[in-house]
Assembly symmetry: C2
Homo-oligomer: 283 residues x 2
C-alpha cells in the first residue's frame, strides 16, 4: 500500500488522511528564516509548492482558492478601495484583487520574501499583476503591520496564510482580529482562510468566537472545493464591521469585466449555502 518515491505526500495526521501528487522532479528546496519551501514539477498538476511539508498550491487547482478568497469579499463590500493582504506571498490573491477596477490600493504583507521570489519563478501566471501601480509588496510581519495601520483606513483585510501552526499562528487569535477591526472602516470586511468544513469545525468555531469577541458583528463561513488541501474541501470566513453579510453586489458580479474559472454569481451564492451539519455546529 505504500507509494513509490515519485509521489509527494502530505499526511494530515489530525484527520488521518493524506493527499499525494505524482511528481516528475523536485525543482527546488530551501530553508528560509521562517520555513522550509519545496517546489516540485508534477505529472498532472503543474508546479507544486510545499511549505513545512504542507501543500500550499498547485498550478492546476489554485484558481479555486484564490478566486474564493478574493471575489466574494470584494463583491460583498459596497466600495472596496483599500485592500490589505496578510500573507498571500504567492501573489495569486493579489492578482484576483487587482482585477477589480474600483480597488485603488492593495498592500500585500508576507513575512517571507522567498515565497514571492519562488512564485515569480514557478508560478509566473500568479505574479503577472505584481507590477500594477496600485500594488505594494511588503515583506514584513503581518501582525505588526496590522497593529500599526491607521484606524479606519482600509476596506478589506484578506488573511491568506498557512495553517495556524508555525509562522501564521498569531493570525488566528483575538488580538490580531482586534487590530483588523480597528484598521477597517465601518462596513469593512476581514476574510480569512478557515480550513476544512469537515475536519476543522472546532478550529472554525474558535476563529469565529475570537472574531466575535474582537468586536465583529457579522460572520459567514463559505465552503468551497480545493482538491490539494486536506479533505479537498476548504472554507473562508468573512467577518464584517457593523454591517451584515447577507447580500452582495450581484449585478456587479454578473457584469464583471474580467475572466474567472470558478467564481460567478451562482458559485458565490453556492458558497453562502450552509450544509446542515455545519449550520448545526456553528449555531
Amino acid at each position: 500500500m505504500s507509494l513509490n518515491t515519485d509521489w509527494f505526500t502530505e499526511r494530515h495526521l489530525a484527520s488521518g488522511s493524506a493527499i499525494s501528487f505524482r511528481i516528475k522532479e523536485k525543482l527546488h528546496a530551501e530553508q528560509t528564516p521562517f520555513q522550509h519551501i519545496e517546489i516540485y514539477a508534477t505529472t498532472d498538476w503543474g508546479h507544486l509548492m510545499v511549505i513545512d511539508g504542507c501543500v500550499m498550491l498547485t498550478s492546476r487547482d489554485n484558481f479555486l482558492y484564490h478566486e474564493m478568497m478574493s471575489h466574494p469579499v470584494l463583491y460583498t463590500h459596497t466600495s472596496p478601495k483599500r485592500v490589505v493582504i496578510i500573507g498571500g506571498g504567492d501573489c495569486g490573491t493579489l492578482r484576483e484583487i487587482l482585477k477589480h477596477r474600483e480597488v485603488e490600493t492593495v498592500v500585500q504583507c508576507d513575512i517571507d520574501e522567498r515565497v514571492t521570489r519562488l512564485s515569480e519563478l514557478y508560478f509566473p501566471e500568479l505574479c503577472e499583476s505584481n507590477g500594477d501601480p496600485r500594488a505594494t509588496l511588503m515583506f514584513d510581519d503581518g501582525i505588526a503591520y496590522m497593529k500599526a495601520l491607521d484606524a479606519e483606513s482600509v476596506d478589506v483585510v484578506i488573511v491568506d496564510s498557512t495553517d495556524p501552526i508555525g509562522p501564521a499562528e498569531g493570525l488566528f487569535n483575538q488580538a490580531f482580529y482586534a487590530s483588523c477591526l480597528r484598521a477597517l472602516r465601518p462596513g469593512g470586511i476581514l476574510v480569512q482562510q478557515s480550513e476544512s468544513p469537515l475536519v476543522h469545525v472546532e478550529l472554525i468555531k474558535a476563529m469565529r468566537d475570537a472574531m466575535r469577541n474582537a468586536g465583529f458583528d457579522h460572520l459567514r463561513t463559505l465552503p468551497f472545493p480545493q482538491p490539494c488541501y486536506p479533505t479537498g474541501w476548504w472554507s473562508c470566513t468573512l467577518a464584517r464591521k457593523h454591517l451584515d453579510l447577507g447580500t452582495f453586489r450581484e449585478r456587479g458580479a454578473a457584469t464583471k469585466q474580467f475572466a474567472t474559472r470558478y467564481y460567478n454569481v451562482d458559485t458565490h451564492k453556492a458558497a453562502l449555502a450552509m450544509p446542515e451539519f455545519l449550520r448545526a455546529a456553528l449555531e
Copy 2:
C-alpha cells in the same frame, strides 16, 4: 515521501493524485465473482470499503454522496413513487430514498450480493431501512434489469455504481440510457454519479452526449464535495424525460420531515451552480 503500511492509499493514476486513510486494521478481504472487496477500520473515518483498489465509502463522509444522489433528484421530480437503484449495494442511497414518504416502491439491483452483506456487517447504519416493506433488494445484472422493465413504469432511476471500468462499464453508454428512458414515465429522471468535475470533464461530456443521444431532453450536472473520492470533489448528472430540470420542490425540501447532514434547500441550489470552467466545458 512514502507512506507507512498503516495507510490505505488509492492512487488515481489518470489524474496523478492519491488519497490515503490511516488504518487501524484490515477487517476483511474477499474476491467475489465480480470484484475484490476490502474492509478496513480507520483511525478517523470509521470503516472504509474498497472495491478493486478504489475507495467506495467511509463511515465519516458517505453522507455527502448518498444525500446528493437521492434528495436533489427526488425533490426535482414532482411525484416520485416508483424508484429503481442500479448498484447502490451499500444501501446508503436506499436509506435516503426511503426517507421520502411519497415513495411507494424502491427496487435496488446490485450485481454483487456480497457488497450488501458486508455493508450490513460494517455499515449497519446504512442498512437500517433494508427491512422497509417498500424496498426490494435484488442481486442481478442492472443492465438486463433495466432492459426488461415495463415501458413507462418508474419515476426515478438512480445509477449508484463504481467507476466506468470493470463491472459498471455497461452503465455508462447510450444503450443503457435508452433502456432507462424507455422505463421512465414522462417527467421521469435518471441520475448517475458522474465523477470529478475537475479531472473527469471529458467523461462527464461523454456521459451527457450519450444521455442526449439516447433521447433525454434536459441535463444538469451537480457538483458536491466528497473527500474520499479523487480530488475530493464529485458530481452527479440528472437527465430528464420531456420536462426541464431548472426547478425543484423547494417548499417540500424546506419542510422535509427527516434529518440530513448535508442536504437542504440551500445546498440543493448550491449544487445547481455551475463553476465558470465547467459551464464553458459543457456548453
